[in-house]
């Protein structure tokens, strides 16, 4: 027992360490830096810049031991967002005297639409990459803890945290229900239409189940003195933000502000 007490005293009476220099940044600093990087693409609007950001994000994840996590989500996004946007632009983007890339059974693919899709796709991907990096390097509990320290209410931070968990729980429930449907002989695999037909009937019970469990969740939280009006203790302790971290945030924010200002000036001058 004493060994356990010692272990947890050491753990919770010292700053939480992730073992990674960027992971140890304050969650709000990480959010700030990555949001700015992700948002730059929206202002620069050049696919080469956004693609460069995506490559840098990949490199950053790989150099900091998060390649597997980053790659597993980002690859899916490339197919879902990147390819989808290019397809949509090829369908909808029209210019005079287009340069034909190729002709697919009468569907003319143009370089102009392709670059337009590439521009928009890479902007969204670079922003999404920044968000994925944020989650790769930040635990939700630390984010909420730092938000609460900045004055966000306990209830708000709980709702935000619990929402993430609810998504995971709902997904797990879908898998369980689909498995039991399969055991009853209902076809749940195959082409998208078959999958949709199997999925559609479970939506209502799934949502009703989630609603009824939210009532029990309230009772559970109430039992944990969630509504008590006293100063809360925070078991976890985050590192005091060091000067170099503050400096990095200020420098990145200043560069971003300069970029936005430059774009605004150009907009008004032209």
């Amino acid at each position: 027992m004493d060994t356990l007490i010692q272990h947890y005293s050491d753990l919770y009476n010292h700053d939480q360490k992730s073992g990674n220099w960027f992971g140890d940044f304050n969650p709000l600093s990480k959010l700030n830096i990555l949001l700015v990087i992700g948002l730059c693409g929206f202002f620069i609007q050049d696919w080469r810049f956004s693609l460069g950001v995506c490559i840098l994000e990949y490199l950053f994840a790989a150099l900091n031991g998060k390649f597997k996590y980053f790659n597993s989500i980002f690859l899916r996004l490339i197919f879902i967002i990147g390819v989808f946007i290019i397809l949509i632009r090829e369908l909808s983007y029209k210019v005079e005297n287009p340069t034909i890339m190729f002709n697919l059974l009468g569907w003319k693919w143009t370089w102009e639409a392709f670059y337009e899709g590439l521009r928009l796709g890479t902007v969204i991907l670079s922003f999404s990459g920044a968000i994925i990096l944020f989650y790769a390097f930040t635990t939700m509990r630390d984010l909420m803890y730092s938000l609460e320290q900045k004055g966000v209410s306990h209830a708000t931070s709980y709702v935000m945290l619990a929402s993430f968990q609810t998504i995971i729980d709902l997904r797990a429930s879908v898998v369980t229900i689909m498995e039991s449907q399969k055991a009853r002989g209902i076809e749940t695999q195959g082409n998208p239409l078959v999958r949709l037909k199997a999925f559609f009937p479970i939506i209502t019970p799934l949502l009703l189940g989630a609603l009824s469990s939210s009532e029990e969740k309230f009772v559970a939280m109430d039992a944990r003195a969630f509504a008590v009006e006293r100063k809360h203790t925070f078991l976890r302790q985050l590192r005091k933000v060091p000067a170099y971290e503050k400096l990095a945030v200020v420098a990145i924010d200043a560069a971003f502000a300069a970029l936005v200002l430059y774009k605004l000036v150009r907009l008004f001058v032209h």
Partner: protein, 283 residues
């Protein structure tokens, strides 16, 4: 003076025409262990919700009569302070896990953090409770990935750690194996010895018989029987009210029928053995 007092209490859930509780009069004394049994839908959980103050604070509906908690009407209690005074463990272990903590240690500590307990005291309490419930090996695990039985133990540990004066426990062993159930009852008994007031809803009557001081039988929203465990569990009308007596009670009545009566109807196996031995010596 009673710790909890219900006088002519009736309650209807919103949009329901039926009474979930009807004309309940009940006095619960400090330091006693009360067992609540009865058929499903008989009002056991509603009674717990009333004692815990969730009715009328969370479940609106129609509440009439008087519910006094430590001398103050339940309507005048601050819900947060009530949660610190009366701990509540309920049936479903899956919704009792907060879903926002990444280790069992932090899950158990959550209530204590909310109560503003000093950090080192939190650590000591969590370790001591986890040892009591034999879950020390789970402390580093993610609570969202535990089995039903493990979650039930963790949820129970989280409430015990908060050290409330009274505990309302609604079927805490529904997901546990027989050994786990015995362990939990032994812990509840220890809590009672340390002076806590306990209300336990449970279908396992043999365990109720072994541990509880007093038993309340709920049927159709009313208190059908209320008294010392021995008197209630050996009452011949028990089955009429949808409750099952411990098997050993049937043995006692069978002995009476066979004209070999024991000096009293036993409610536990240990008691039956002792009565049979006594009878053997007498004859």
């Amino acid at each position: 003076m009673s710790y909890i007092s219900l006088k002519n209490v009736s309650y209807q859930y919103p949009y329901s025409k039926q009474f979930a509780l009807q004309d309940i009069n009940l006095e619960l004394k400090k330091g006693k262990f009360y067992g609540v049994i009865g058929q499903n839908g008989g009002g056991k959980t509603t009674l717990c919700n009333t004692i815990r103050g969730l009715i009328p604070h969370f479940y609106k509906g129609e509440l009439s009569g008087e519910v006094l908690i430590d001398g103050t009407d339940v309507r005048n209690w601050n819900t947060g302070e009530l949660s610190a005074k009366i701990g509540y463990v309920f049936q479903n272990p899956f919704t009792q896990i907060s879903g926002i903590k990444e280790t069992v240690f932090e899950e158990i500590a959550m209530g204590l953090e909310n109560l503003g307990i000093e950090k080192n005291k939190i650590i000591e309490s969590v370790i001591s409770v986890s040892e009591l419930l034999s879950i020390s090996d789970l402390l580093e695990k993610n609570p969202n990935q535990l089995s039903g039985g493990q979650r039930q133990r963790v949820a129970f540990a989280a409430i015990i750690a908060m050290d409330a004066e009274m505990l309302v426990i609604d079927e805490p062993t529904s997901q546990l194996d027989p050994q786990g159930t015995e362990d939990v009852f032994a812990i509840i008994d220890k809590l009672k010895t340390s002076g806590k007031t306990i209300i336990l809803v449970e279908h396992k009557v043999s365990l109720i018989a072994r541990y509880c001081d007093q038993v309340i039988v709920m049927s159709d929203g009313k208190i059908a029987l209320n008294g010392l465990a021995k008197a209630v569990l050996s009452d011949p009308r028990l089955e009429e009210f949808g409750a099952t007596p411990p098997e050993v009670v049937h043995f006692g009545y069978a002995m009476q029928k066979a004209k070999k009566p024991l000096t009293e109807i036993p409610i536990t196996v240990e008691e039956a053995v002792s009565l049979v031995e006594k009878r053997g010596k007498q004859s």
